[in-house]
Amino acid sequence: MRKGKLVLAGVFITLSLFIIAFALELPASRKGVPGPGTWPILISLIMLFSAITVAIKSFNDKDKKPLGIAGKEQVRVYLSMISLVIYLIAMTFIGFAVSTFVMLYGFITWFSSYKWYFRVISSFAITAVIYCVFHYVLKVPFRFGVLF
């Protein structure tokens, strides 16, 4: 947990410094009326101060509670995240229905031990229901990709 908080503080310190640097390039205040950069600078300073305090506190902290980001369960989550990024890319190139069916079939196969025909039917049914509700009822166009 301690290491995690130090990393988090580092990320937000960098982010706030980055925002301050960008905001300083925006038009300045006029006659006491704040310009577009004033507010982001003010908020970034609050974030910077808080992140530095978190870093100092975490540095002196003896908390040895594990962060729980490197276990077998978490690796499964990271693989899911990667799969979803691939699904997003595939969806724009292949098409919504086909890539969704493949994504669902893949996840259900991975997460369960159902017979192949159950996996196919459930993936197809979920894809069909979501497609029909959003495309025909809510008029959401899924016009992308070379396939359906």
Binding site: P27, G35, V54, G68, S80, L84, L88
Partner: protein, 489 residues
């Protein structure tokens, strides 16, 4: 106004949506791992094509149903469906273990109904008065109000105030992306056309509350859930009614009050109510053994929050909790701006929300007492099907907002971020509140200085500003003082 509101609500399609919302909410609520916020966030995209009444009342139905639904799995499985039902599990499961599952569910259903109804009455009585008072607010008061909301949320949400502040500041900074309203300058857009109009907070919400929760679900996807207990008749015993009525009035009111404080949700309300019921009890040592009052108190309080959270949302445009933040999103999509002017400009909608909330509570009572056995079947839906379906709904839901793939990318980014925030015990709620209150704070900050010709004294120029200033100081320093007091004890 009331006749117009009744006209809006008493349409068969609106009533059907409320019933469907409550039933859907109960299904979502009773499934462990699916939170109320996640349920409302997932249903939100379905409302984009609806009118304001259908949309907001469907979401209210889901909200009421999900807060109550959490108690079903808490009582039957000892696994709270939502964090708000964790306190109910302590005694509810013990009572169910004695073979009195129906009685426990009956107590929770009736207490939830009474708590929710009381909160609705408070909402009806307080909101118009507060909205009328808020009409006196001008830019400095609105700025101070927004700052107060942000401070309360940051200091209460999560385990660390500093992490809450970082989270809230991050939300405010995200809200600054896009074209500046006053000068028309582009801020932090990096020449990306998708960022010109800013980042919409709906995909951010879906990512933070639904997608990240689904990732948590992947972690324990192979964990087996305990088999559910059989429920025969759902109704409290005659001896329970005294306790139910007494507790529902006291803790329903307490829940309403807690719900009206920005950032404090149903989970905190139910634990406070449980603690209070224990300290007021003649036999506190029996708490945890399956006492009716220990089930009734948290359930009345968590449903009391539903109406309470809507008070600041409708009257001031400040969300009481994450669900109220999503409702602000739903109203904004419909072209309605929550705040004091909502009562003036769209009075019938506001009163329709009041009536709809009452009807949703009645639906919850009827469905809870008659169809709980049906909802227990939902508990057998396998996670291996549920989690991929949630992934898909998150994708389609964020895409449906503007038919833009960029929103899906935003959702996925915040879903991943929300997962890591959970790991580090950093609350995601302040980000959303920052996104909503940030623009309100900034525009009023600059407008007030424009009106006051650059004089910062304008922020303390009226009595209301001073009240907010004192509240800001209290909200920032009270948690620190409480911590020090606890340590010294």
């Amino acid at each position: 106004m009331l006749a117009e509101a009744l006209n809006l609500v008493l349409q068969p399609s609106v009533l059907l949506y409320i019933v469907l919302g409550v039933a859907g909410g109960m299904c979502i609520g009773c499934l462990p791992g699916l939170t109320t916020t996640m349920g409302v966030a997932l249903v939100l995209p379905l409302t984009f094509g609806m009118d304001a009444t259908h949309s907001i009342l469907l979401l209210i139905g889901v909200y009421v149903g999900a807060v109550y639904g959490g108690s079903i799995s808490a009582i039957l499985l000892n696994t709270p469906g939502t964090p708000a039902s964790a306190a109910t599990a302590l005694d509810g499961y013990k009572m169910a273990s004695r073979g009195e599952a129906g009685r426990a569910l009956g107590i929770s259903t009736t207490s939830s109904f009474l708590g929710g109804t009381i909160s609705c009455i408070f909402l009806i009585l307080i909101s118009p008065l507060l909205a009328k008072f808020a009409l006196r607010f001008s830019a400095p008061e609105f700025f101070m109000l927004a700052v107060f909301g942000l401070c309360v949320i940051s200091s209460i949400s999560g385990k660390s105030m500093l992490l809450g502040l970082i989270s809230g500041a991050f939300g405010i900074l995200i809200a600054t992306i896009g074209i500046d309203d006053i000068t028309g300058t582009l801020r932090f857009t990096f020449n990306n056309m998708n960022l010109f109009s800013g980042i919409n907070f709906i995909p951010v919400m879906i990512g933070l509350f639904a997608m990240s929760q689904a990732f948590v679900g992947v972690e324990d996807i192979f964990k087996k859930t305990a088999p559910t207990r059989k429920v025969t008749k759902v109704f409290p015993e005659r001896s329970d009614w005294g306790v139910i009525i007494k507790n529902s009035f006291a803790f329903g009111s307490l829940g309403t009050f807690i719900g009206s404080i920005p950032g404090v949700g149903a989970d905190i309300a139910s634990f406070i109510a449980y603690g209070q019921a224990k300290s007021m009890s003649k036999h506190p040592e029996k708490f945890g053994t399956g006492l009716p009052e220990a089930i009734s108190a948290p359930e009345a309080a968590n449903n009391g929050v539903t109406g309470g959270a809507l008070i600041p949302m409708l009257t001031l445009g400040v969300p009481g909790d994450a669900v109220a933040a999503i409702m602000i999103g739903a109203l904004t999509v419909q072209g309605l701006q929550p705040g004091p002017l909502l009562f003036q400009n769209d009075g019938p909608i506001v009163y329709a929300i009041f009536i709809g909330l009452l009807i949703a509570n009645v639906c919850m009572l009827v469905l809870g007492l008659n169809s709980v056995r049906l909802f227990t079947k939902v508990l057998s839906v396998p996670k291996s099907i549920l989690v991929p379906t949630i992934f898909l709904l998150c994708f389609v839901g964020s895409y449906a907002l503007a038919n833009n793939i960029f929103d899906v990318i935003v959702m996925l980014f915040f879903g991943i971020l929300g997962y890591f925030f959970q790991k580090i015990e950093m609350s995601s709620s302040p980000i959303i509140l920052g996104l909503i209150l940030g623009p309100m704070a900034e525009s009023n900050f600059r407008r007030a200085l424009l009106m006051g010709r650059g004089d910062y004294g304008t922020f303390l120029s009226t009595g209301i500003c001073w009240v907010f200033f004192i509240l800001i100081i209290v909200s920032l320093f009270l948690p620190m003082l409480q911590k020090k007091l606890l340590k010294s004890r």
